[in-house]
């Protein structure tokens, strides 16, 4: 346990600066993009709802880019131990189990994603408060929305996707993040050990993710039509994603044990 803890901190400290700066960028972007979107607001302007402004400001795309950036940072840190210093040899000759090496890297990746999610949430709240205080300056109560942060939070499709309500929705969001983390790590391990088939999982990963996201966004499609909202289907897709995650973890550990990745 102690070894795992030390390894994880060591792995994570390689990512920390880049991840922290991404988080700061994400929070700043939430504020700046919303600020730009409402720069012309005055008492004669049309006041869109905050969730619509947030979506129109491009923040969902910015968040997606940040997630991709975290993945890139992780992949880069993974490959950096093969290039230059070749620290992978040191890592794999350490007197610790290889599962621990794997898990420590996986955890540091997961913590990076968690921090990004935290930044997204804080950015949303910051941007809302900025907008609310700006409107409060000139509206005399006419253009303000009582309890607006809560309403924006539950009415925004994007926020409901990230911060869902209901067991099936929470499960599906969590499964998506877990599968992305384990699958990306598995993908690079496969590449290193020249297991070409590892890439074939891509369809198995993205098809359920696609189904879950479209089902949850298009909840109005009528009962019985293709991919209409059904919580038991959501649980099924989440289970598929979790099974894929387990397979990824298991196969990654097998590859590491074999020493195939060096």
């Amino acid at each position: 346990m102690r070894q795992f803890y030390r390894l994880m901190n060591a792995q994570f400290s390689e990512l920390i600066i880049s991840v922290l700066s991404l988080c700061v960028t994400l929070i700043a972007a939430s504020w700046l993009l919303v600020l730009y979107k409402i720069k012309d607001y005055n008492q004669y302007a049309v006041h869109e709802r905050f969730e619509d402004i947030y979506a129109a400001s491009g923040m969902p795309i910015v968040f997606l880019i940040c997630v991709l950036a975290v993945i890139a940072i992780f992949v880069k840190s993974f490959y950096s131990s093969y290039w230059g210093s070749k620290s992978i040899y040191t890592l794999l000759t350490l007197p610790v189990k290889r599962e621990l090496v794997y898990l420590s890297k996986l955890c540091s990746f997961a913590i990076s994603i968690l921090m990004l999610l935290c930044a997204q949430l804080l950015g949303f709240i910051l941007a809302y408060n900025y907008m609310a205080s700006k409107i409060a300056n000139y509206s005399n109560g006419e253009l303000e929305v009582t309890n607006g942060l809560f309403l924006a939070f539950i009415r925004s499709d994007f926020m409901r996707l990230l911060w869902p309500y209901g067991f099936a929705n929470v499960l599906s969001t969590v499964s998506i993040f877990i599968v992305i983390i384990t699958w990306v790590y598995h993908l690079v391990l496969c590449e290193r050990s020249q297991r070409r088939l590892g890439g074939a999982l891509i369809a198995a990963v993205f098809w359920p993710i696609y189904l879950v996201v479209t089902m949850r966004l298009d909840a109005f499609s009528s009962q019985g039509s293709f991919n209409s909202y059904d919580s038991s289907k959501l649980i099924l897709y989440s289970a598929i994603l979790l099974v894929i995650s387990v397979i990824c973890v298991w196969h990654s550990i097998v590859l590491l044990r074999k020493g195939a990745t060096t």
């Binding site: 792995q11 994570f12 006041h47 913590i111 709240i125 253009l143 009582t146 009962q223």
Partner: protein, 434 residues
């Protein structure tokens, strides 16, 4: 020294940042989601003595596609409970009767089936949408009714007023105009063989529990009778008729035994007996009525709308001892800048007679005279409560809410290119007075 500290921190950086991120996320979610009961629900007394509200509960819900806040105004405070939907839900906009009759979990529609019988369609509600249509076709001897004029589409629309439910059994009578003569019946629909097919293979023969004439036997008697509908109060059936210038409510047991009747004179309907209106002396009413049942006290309150968009509430008590007229109250027009919607389609209302007083809770829309052309649905909503005693207004109050904040986005907006979706705006639903 500084270096040492950083290296110490670095040894625990993963755990530290995980805890920080987790705490921030939990705190933010608790802060935002915990605000779900922070909406505005305040009682304002507008007129009269608020003590008439003691012991009365006015409940309802404010709902949009994402959440629903149930509220209960009890005495001097309001309790709320908010539920956030896992899946967005459409609002159900048909609050009242007309083409549809809501009984328990089903919406019923009655169709006239090529003059040979009736077809009943029922739809269950699933997330406020109709699902699973089912049908029953009935053979009714409609030919026993001689129609003097053809059945208009307006009358067809009223057919479902003839449906009522007592203890899980459906009863039906044929809603007619004064253009019909002959024998009408109240039937018990002795079948629950609902067919998924729009054209059921077999017709059902319902059991007549009683028959009544839509005219008098004596040819010289020119009484004109129209059937407005059938209501159930507890286990008593109330048949709502128009006879000449009278509104007649007859009470029946489910075995067909007549319990009594009561009449309100004059009660003029625009469609049947407008010529009796005697100039402007009497208001004439539309045939579409709203019914509010209080099975516990055997009370039935019928609300009729007249040509001047004014409502009259008629309350009768239906017990084993007979049918008794309790109260007739003309509901006041509250304010000329407020109006209730007349076509009973959009806005909620509930009327109940309790402890000698008539309580009305209803949704009204603010009419801003400067923009008279604004679409009705985009006018601000107000929930007003009126209490009448012996026909006189004794109390008016309002439940102040923040539903109209949803209209902020259409302020300063050009109405020509407005993209409007009902589900995105909160509205009031399921008003009830207990």
């Amino acid at each position: 020294m500084k270096r040492l500290r950083w290296s110490t921190l670095k040894r625990h950086i993963a755990l530290t940042l995980t805890i920080v991120a987790a705490v921030l996320i939990i705190a933010a979610l608790v802060l935002v989601r915990g605000a779900k009961e922070h909406g505005t629900y305040e009682i304002t007394h507008l007129y009269g003595d608020p003590s008439v509200m003691e012991g009365i509960t006015i409940s309802g819900a404010i709902q949009d596609e994402h959440h629903r806040t149930s509220f209960a105004w009890l005495d001097d405070h309001v309790d709320t409970k908010t539920e956030v939907f896992a899946k967005p839900q459409r609002n159900w906009t048909y609050h009242y009767r007309g083409m549809y009759e809501r009984i328990n979990d089903y919406y019923y529609t009655v169709h006239l089936n090529s003059y040979k019988g009736l077809k009943i369609e029922r739809n269950s509600l699933h997330h406020n949408r109709w699902e699973h249509s089912e049908y029953i076709e009935m053979e009714l001897p409609i030919a026993r009714l001689f129609y003097k004029e053809s059945y208009s589409s307006d009358d067809m629309r009223r057919l479902s007023y003839g449906l009522a439910e007592v203890e899980g059994e459906l009863y039906i009578t044929l809603v007619t105009t004064t253009g019909y003569e002959g024998v009408n019946w109240i039937y018990k629909l002795n079948s629950d063989q609902w067919s998924k097919s729009m054209f059921p293979f077999e017709s059902v023969k319902p059991t007549p529990i009683m028959s009544y004439r839509s005219d008098r036997n004596d040819i010289k008697d020119t009484t004109q009778t129209a059937v407005l509908g059938l209501e159930a109060v507890g286990d008593i059936l109330a048949l709502i008729l128009v006879r000449d210038d009278k509104l007649v409510i007859e009470g029946y047991h489910t075995d067909g035994k007549k319990l009594g009747e009561t009449a309100i004179v004059p009660f003029i309907f625009e469609e049947f007996n407008d010529e009796l209106a005697d100039g402007d002396n009497y208001a004439s009413y539309g045939v579409g009525y709203e019914a509010y049942h209080d099975a516990e006290n055997g009370m039935l309150t019928l609300s009729f709308l007249n040509q001047q968009s004014q409502r009259t509430a008629v309350t009768v008590q239906c017990t084993e001892d007979g049918i008794k007229l309790i109260d007739v109250t003309e509901l006041k027009k509250v304010d000329k800048l407020l109006r209730g919607y007349s076509e009973s389609l959009y806005d909620e209302r509930f009327i109940a007679f309790k402890a000698g007083k008539l309580y009305e809770a209803g949704v009204y829309r603010e009419i801003n005279q400067s923009d008279n052309n604004v679409w009705y649905r985009l006018l601000p909503i107000r929930l007003l409560v009126h209490v009448y005693e012996r026909g006189e207004l004794v109390y008016a109050g309002e439940l102040m809410t923040d539903v109209n904040d949803d209209l902020v986005r259409i302020k300063n907006h050009s109405m020509h290119n407005l993209n409007y979706d009902d589900a995105e705006y909160r509205n009031l639903f399921d008003l009830h007075i207990d």
